[in-house]
Symmetry: C2
């Protein structure tokens, strides 16, 4: 699967690496239009939830849940949005997006209106990564 | 929670009822622009994944996974999309959406472009509900 961008994402974007868990890797989304937007993606190239053994699925979902709780703790949003799509990149990657009542698209889905990506400085990326990592480790 | 539309959805739309599972209820979405689009929602009024006990979370996700497999079996889509949002109705409800390479929005998210809802006849709703129910029971 050398052509899968999710298989190489961890190595491709070292500045966005948050944590390596048992089943999944956690990375900050480069576009921080929605502050705290992270990806939680499996180390293995798998696609549908129902392809996983129940034990692996439970472990993946425990990790998704734990990262969601860390985002909730760190950013105090109104809601977390959890999305597993994979139409363009089928390798299982969860979009975990803290949503705020002050965000321009609230309460609509994040995809309902196009926006210019919000890029941070290297120091800002590092700070946000460190905050999420520290919160995650403390859970 | 008398003001929660998800708490009363099962009783409100009997023609869309597919199945009552241990943790969740399964209903067809009235708008069938995306054929097979279902909701899987908890019987309890809960919101975030990380609020659930691990055993309950595992059970909810097993049901989400099983419904996704039934949709995949019944409709043969290219991908299933799984979305837990809840910005407007926080009561936990999963959007399970079979996606086809022939659908007008493929491969973009279902929210990326507005569309007029596709309503079926009563007989067509009943047929689609029965197909999904039968496939689910056979898994």
């Amino acid at each position: 699967m050398t052509s899968c961008s999710m298989c190489t994402k961890w190595e491709d974007e070292p500045g966005l690496q948050i944590a390596e868990l048992e089943q999944c890797r956690v990375m900050l989304n480069r576009d921080q239009f929605f502050p705290g937007y992270c990806f939680v993606f499996t180390k293995e190239h798998v696609t549908e939830l129902f392809h996983l053994d129940p034990e692996v699925r439970n472990s993946v979902m425990a990790e998704v849940s734990r990262v969601a709780e860390a985002l909730y703790t760190a950013f105090a949003p109104a809601k977390i949005n959890y999305e597993l799509l994979g139409n363009m990149v089928p390798h299982m990657h969860w979009h975990l997006v803290p949503r705020f009542t002050t965000d321009p698209l609230w309460p609509r889905p994040i995809w309902s209106e196009a926006h210019d990506p919000v890029e941070l400085t290297s120091a800002e990326y590092a700070g946000r990564v460190a905050l999420i990592r520290k919160t995650l480790e403390a859970l």
